[in-house]
Symmetry: C2
Subunit: 159 residues, 2 copies
Amino acid sequence: MTNPVTKDRRHFEDLAIGEVIDLGRTSVSREMITSFAREFDPFPFHLDEEAAKASLLGGLASSGWQTGALSLRMLVDRFLANVASCGGLGFRNLKWKNPVMVDDIIGGTATIAELRRSASHPQWGIVTLDFAIGNQHGKPVMTMRLANLVECRHPETGV
Amino acid sequence: MTNPVTKDRRHFEDLAIGEVIDLGRTSVSREMITSFAREFDPFPFHLDEEAAKASLLGGLASSGWQTGALSLRMLVDRFLANVASCGGLGFRNLKWKNPVMVDDIIGGTATIAELRRSASHPQWGIVTLDFAIGNQHGKPVMTMRLANLVECRHPETGV
């Protein structure tokens, strides 16, 4: 049974370990940082310039959770929008390496690290992606490993 | 040297393994789901009711990343706002267990799982928190383990 919504997108069988996805780049403005922080991470070092200067971060910096959300958006735009994705399963080993400051430009790659058919659901496979996000100075900002569910084109071939 | 901003807040020495933080509850509206998804996770099953009904999720559901961000906000309100926190380091083993649907009420606990002085920076300690987030039906929604940096009140006592 072909899913009419996703039939023209890449399926599990079309993916290969080692494929590197260029995530492009995103500029992080003061307004983006403060509006996200007000909603989800209301710490002075994400909201107020003076408090941020006195903090460990040394200046106004984004919530690490926002860095993750922006990286997810880059993955959707550059990869998942063209994949028969059923959604994420979870993350492992997310590490924030350096803060993202006002007007930093972040970007990087996601690399397919593992491909595994679901043992219990032959219609799905699990793709594991390693993110490497950095800033315009070449410094690492964040790494994480995402597990995402993808439709198989040929469920009948089994696990 | 006492930090005047954080001196009245809980420091690393004030925390104990096993402490359970009640995160309270948050209601997740349709507007919250679609506005977050438009910005960070623009998949039809987070944006459009009909597409969502046809998807694995069975109805309009929040981005998993939004569930994480809302859980972080609950931790700030119920715990970190009163702690001499310097920011997050990362997290391990985030798992989405069940989708969060329109008007679901999510909540749960964060439990202090580990406390460790920084080997290289005696002024800081690392607190590890295990999140258990569920919905109003008692079903699990998300688990994750967050590592967060906290000031020590007495850096001179060493590691």
